[in-house]
């Protein structure tokens, strides 16, 4: 983060006038002394005086500039214009010369002083613009309101050599100091800040309102609404003099207010978006739950009715339909319960040593006929290590992945399960790969979201399977990723932490 190149000087404006007057006297005295020894005419010396006056005016204020013109004219007249060491001017030419000298010295001096004053103002304006620019840049780089306030406080502290506090309206509707502030506010300061927030007018030190306070309290206004209060605690000797300095502080307050307002709008729009999203989710959920639950129920009802009047020929088919419908219902209700358990935080993994072969065998057994149409190949290294996991959760993870593969690939398409120690040795991996259409890269982030379903037409349940997979894997300290199966299809890889178990007594 860049810093303002220098702070702003709060000390009383410039050097003291007395010093400037003395400086003027000293310079004129030097010129006069030098002139007395130099073999020059008093005409030439008049020009040297003029030069000295202009040079002085580049350094001093208007008062001393005027003083320089007067003193130099008097000195020139008294010391050099004949008669010497007298204020009397004998010659008309000399009187004219002295008069013109005085007017020129006065004009040149005043003009020079004005240019200098303008230059100073310019410099202050530039400083202010730079300061605001730094502030804006620091705040724009912030990702959150807290960061932005922190950046503003740091900038203000450096720039004004001050301690700063920002008070914002919290969720409770009360004005509360932001933790990033560097200016601790006592009871009295908080009261001042509260009154500023109510009235929208500045108060505290350097103002007409409660000037006894330690800090200068500035309202942070946006469109007439006070969004908070900026409190600047300036060093003890500081005297707030120029309009520019006051404006700079107000600029700071306005800049923070802008950021606060932006944040409020962002939060509001985010909430809006969330509401819309949850509304959409609810509708989807209701639609699909009702569809997914009612379809097997309708099958069951119709199949049993048919059974009642069947003469026996269709019996095996009807029974098969009933079996399919019940296992579909069973799976669906199981997934709904799993998802609910995940969301309620009721999943407490019971970690124990697991053998991937056990888990796969159990998952296969649980799936039964759902996998019948898909040959399953397993490839495990002979020295496949055991790992810590919750066997029941892992069984669900693997059966959901296998079922997912079976549902999204044509009949007869093979599924492959592999496992091993991941490259870094710190994790074990289990992959479930298929030879189906695969997952487009753009969709990979979404497949683990709940209620996500591949394509609109497939009846793959509620779209909870992979969401449960991820939830269960995360609960066990693992990770699951989806990518391409080399050679075609989708591949899911579950990573779990790997640890070494104690030795096993041989006999």
């Amino acid at each position: 983060m860049s810093r303002p190149s220098s702070g702003i000087d709060w000390s009383p404006r410039g050097s003291s006038p007395l010093r400037e007057y003395l400086e003027v006297l000293a310079v004129i005295a030097v010129v006069t002394a030098a002139g007395s020894f130099a073999p020059l005419t008093y005409h030439a010396l008049g020009h040297i005086y003029l030069l000295a006056v202009i040079a002085l005016c580049l350094r001093v204020g208007r008062g001393p500039a005027l003083f320089a013109a007067v003193v130099s004219a008097v000195a020139w007249n008294f010391v050099f214009i004949p008669p010497h060491l007298s204020f009397t001017v004998l010659d008309f030419d000399d009187a004219l010369l002295l008069g013109i000298y005085f007017v020129v010295a006065l004009t040149a001096g005043q003009l020079t002083a004005r240019i200098r004053a303008q230059q100073r103002a310019e410099h202050r304006r530039e400083q202010r613009a730079t300061a605001l620019f730094h502030l804006t840049r620091a705040m724009a780089g912030a990702r959150t309101l807290d960061e932005a306030v922190g950046a503003a406080v740091r900038q203000a502290d450096e720039l004004f050599h001050a301690r700063t506090a920002v008070l914002l309206v919290g969720a409770s509707g009360e004005l509360t100091p932001h933790p990033a502030g560097s200016f601790p506010l006592d009871e009295a300061e908080l009261t001042v800040a509260a009154s500023v927030w109510r009235t929208g007018r500045e108060a505290g030190r350097f103002t007409g309102e409660r000037p006894g306070a330690t800090g200068l309290h500035l309202p942070m206004l946006r469109a007439g609404v006070c969004l908070g209060v900026l409190v600047v605690g300036l060093p003890g000797e500081a005297v707030l003099t120029t309009v520019e300095q006051r404006e700079l502080l107000e600029g700071f307050a306005a800049q923070i207010a802008l950021q606060v307002e932006r944040e409020q709008l962002r939060v509001a729009s985010e909430r809006e978006k969330l509401l819309a999203e949850s509304d959409r989710l609810h509708r989807t959920l209701l639609d699909s739950v009702s569809h997914e639950l009612r379809t097997p129920l309708a099958v069951l009802r119709s199949a049993t009715e048919n059974l009642a009047r069947d003469d026996g020929a269709r019996r095996p088919h009807l029974m098969a339909e009933i079996r399919t419908a019940t296992s579909r219902l069973d799976h669906l209700v199981g997934n709904l319960l799993d998802q609910t358990r995940l969301e309620s935080g009721a999943i407490k993994p019971q970690l124990d040593w697991c053998d991937v072969r056990d888990l796969i065998a159990a998952a296969r057994r649980g799936l039964g006929e759902a996998l019948a149409a898909h040959p399953l190949k397993t490839e495990f290294p002979l020295e496949m290590p055991l790992f810590m996991a919750d066997a029941a959760l892992m069984e669900h993870v693997l059966s959901n992945l296998l079922l997912n593969g079976a549902l999204h690939t044509p009949e007869g398409s093979p599924l492959t399960v592999t496992a091993g120690l991941a490259g870094d040795g710190g994790r074990v991996f289990i992959t479930v790969a298929d030879r189906g259409p695969g997952i487009p890269p753009a969709m990979r982030g979404q497949v683990f979201q709940k209620f996500h379903r591949a394509g609109a037409t497939r009846t793959g349940g509620l779209g909870l399977g992979l969401s449960i997979v991820r939830g269960f894997v995360l609960a066990q300290g693992g990770e699951v990723v989806a990518d391409d199966n080399p050679g075609g299809g989708a591949r899911f890889t579950v990573y779990l932490p790997h640890a070494l178990h104690g030795s096993v007594p041989n006999e």
């Binding site: 069973d330 124990d352 072969r357 159990a362 069984e395």
Partner: protein, 233 residues
């Protein structure tokens, strides 16, 4: 106890009437005499009254938990108990098995599975039937001569492997929890060393199963224990 000729008597304790009725059909068709109870209290009273040969107990009852019923029952009765539970209750399954249940089934289950479990329970209740050789598939375990053959060929097992196998055979078709096995084979100090089991089970499967990665007989009950499945029906 009932005589050999009488039908074995089964008590079903479940608060769902439909489940009780359908279980009754299944059990009666299989040759059992069925008694029913809808609450834990009624169930305990029925045990006193009718002396069933086996009890099927639902873990979720209206008046008391199945675990409580089990604990009270075990104070005075050794009748085999099969508990019914749903997924997500691994903890209560283990609690039930620790409290003295002999096996469990997860709802929803198939009728064939229930009958197989029940047969295994009743076999345990009749020690006279313990055979000196047990066969499953092409595997033959001769408990008397400590000989194991597969397809007629002798399979060499280490002493611990054989002890594990013998334990599974003695409890065939019934679940054995990790704790029970570890306690039996390595003593109570090893009750948490489940990796012993994984390693030895892997060795047994490699020696005895046709497809060690898709075991037919040596089955894992995820999170609970193991079961040697011999009853193919």
């Amino acid at each position: 106890m009932n005589g050999d000729t009488a039908k074995p008597r089964v008590l079903v304790v479940d608060d769902e009437t439909q489940i009780r009725r359908l279980l009754s059909f299944t059990l009666e068709d299989a040759g059992y005499e069925v008694r029913q109870a809808g609450t834990g209290q009624a169930g305990l009273a029925e045990v006193v009254h009718s002396h069933p040969d086996a009890i099927i107990l639902d873990l979720g009852l209206p008046d008391m938990t199945g675990i409580e019923v089990l604990k009270r029952l075990r104070e005075w009765s050794a009748t085999p108990v099969l508990i019914l539970s749903v997924f997500g209750q691994e903890g209560s399954k283990i609690a039930g098995l620790d409290a003295g249940a002999d096996d469990y089934l997860t709802k929803p289950f198939a009728g064939g599975e229930l009958l197989a479990r029940l047969r295994a329970l009743l076999r345990r209740a009749k020690p006279a039937e313990v055979a000196s050789t047990v066969e499953f598939g092409s595997i033959k375990v001769d408990l008397e001569r400590r000989r194991v053959t597969k397809g007629g060929e002798v399979v060499k097992l280490t002493a611990k492997e054989y002890a594990f196998l013998r334990l599974l055979v003695a409890h065939r078709d019934r679940v054995l929890t990790h704790r029970q096995i570890l306690n039996d084979l390595w003593g109570p100090k090893a009750e948490r060393q489940t990796h012993y089991l994984r390693v030895f089970m892997m060795r047994l499967r490699r020696k005895l199963e046709d497809e060690p990665d898709a075991p037919k007989y040596f089955q894992t009950e995820s999170g609970i224990g193991y079961r040697l499945v011999c009853d193919g029906s």
